[in-house]
Symmetry: C2
Subunit: 112 residues, 2 copies
DNA sequence: AGCCATATATCGATGGTCGGTATATGCTGG
DNA sequence: CCAGCATATACCGACCATCGATATATGGCT
């Protein structure tokens, strides 16, 4: 699973949201580092719905504009939890190894 | 950065390794869930070298077979550290939101 | 009047990964 | 004794998620 997809599911983890809301939420969550393109977002929403990870929650019209709200399915929540755990473990492994390497290099330079 | 690329850099975080060693290391690190294809690995090694994140450390011949060892550059270590931190934060956000959602749902069902 | 935010949708291009194939050596089980 | 597997690098076409751009429409701000 790629980062944009992961962040879309994360945006839906605690409440239903509509497409545009997901876009801004993802940008905020990632401190502006991940700007979802409209193409990416709506293609991903269709795909994730086909895969059964999200579903259409409800729709409403605001200012003559459609808002289509999506929510996580149980499958989606399970999948996201598994993916989050994988990310956490990978991040931990990388940090541990980098730390080990810095210690080794410091020792080699005679630094206490 | 995609997961395979991240894991390749992680494999090199604490010591130089050759291609095939990276492949087995990545599989072990991810509990067998990520099996690097030869095509992915060697293409990624070329690309990462061009980008300045890794470099050829040294080469040796074992059993008439070439072993080309790669190591992280300073740039690569910096990049990997930043990426690991991003992964950690994203995983944390997803887990926090999922937890919040479970509490809300439990309360809605009248569960203490 | 012009621009930006809101909101969804579609389309071609890009690029990292997948899956397979090629080449070569050495070890091991049947 | 030879077939298969592990080791080791390399290349290629295919796939698909994402990018970047464009389209359409409304409302608010300057």
């Amino acid at each position: 699973m790629q980062q944009p997809t992961f962040l879309i599911l994360t945006a839906l983890a605690d409440r239903p949201q509509h497409g545009y809301g997901i876009m801004t939420d993802v940008e905020r969550m990632s401190d502006g580092s991940v700007r979802l393109r409209a193409g990416t977002l709506y293609a991903a929403l269709d795909r994730l719905r086909e895969e059964g990870f999200i579903q259409i929650d409800h729709e409403e019209i605001v200012d003559a504009r459609l808002r289509r709200y999506y929510s996580l399915t149980d499958d989606g929540a399970t999948r996201l939890a598994a993916e989050a755990d994988r990310l956490r473990r990978h991040a931990q492994t990388a940090s541990r190894r980098l730390r080990a390497s810095r210690i080794t290099n410091a020792a080699a330079r005679g630094v206490s």
